[in-house]
Amino acid sequence: MSEIRISHQDFDPGAEIAAISSVKANIGAIASFIGVVRGDDGLAAMTLDHYPGMCEREIAAHVTEAKKRWPILALRIVHRVGRLVPGERIVFVGVASSHRGAAFEAAEFLMDYLKTRAPFWKLEERKTGSVWVEAREADDESVKRWQ
């Protein structure tokens, strides 16, 4: 059971966790992550743009990769798009597995991908104006360790 949802709407972390918690009798571990827009470096807002359809397919390819590496029993990714202000939730990743090591590692693997290489484009609004964030180097450290 895995679901990938790209949405302008906020999500309810408790409801997302509940959705992956009760699907199999052998679930022993649920690792989850919530990303929130930080406002401590002067960011006023950020807007995430995406290519509907292609975005979900590319994320799904990484979910398939995660499922090859770890025994995942249930998985859910929710990623918001549109304009978000500091304090708002951006992303949810939840992974259910039999054991904690697999659940933690798969969740971290998916988050490293989503933060650095997932198909989103980010516009940051600051006092100094709005700027489209430049792509990071492909050899970002947090992704490299999975390769």
Binding site: Y51, M54, R117, F120, W121, K122, W132, A135
Partner: protein, 81 residues
């Protein structure tokens, strides 16, 4: 064909999508055609190192063939969420 623009390409061109009947055999030909449509297009397609293309939601290069019913998308390198 249907053409989609994302991020700053959308802003420079001033629209997110359009349907055009372009007699271009490949992506490079389509870009040449688009550049001629106005200064916004010209600005958007100035630095080709910063532009990626997908045809029918698959990443392709400038030499990718195009058909009349294809969905072509132009966008910058992705930045993550």
């Amino acid at each position: 064909m249907k053409i989609l623009y994302f991020a700053w390409l959308r802003q420079k061109i001033g629209r997110s999508e359009e349907t055009l009947d372009v007699p271009a055999a490949n992506v490079a030909g389509l870009i040449d055609h688009l550049r001629a449509r106005g200064p916004g297009y010209e600005a958007a397609f100035r630095d080709m190192k910063s532009i990626r293309c997908a045809v029918n939601q698959e990443h392709v290069g400038l030499d990718a063939k195009l058909g009349p019913n294809d969905e072509v998308a132009f966008f910058p390198p992705v930045t993550g969420g």
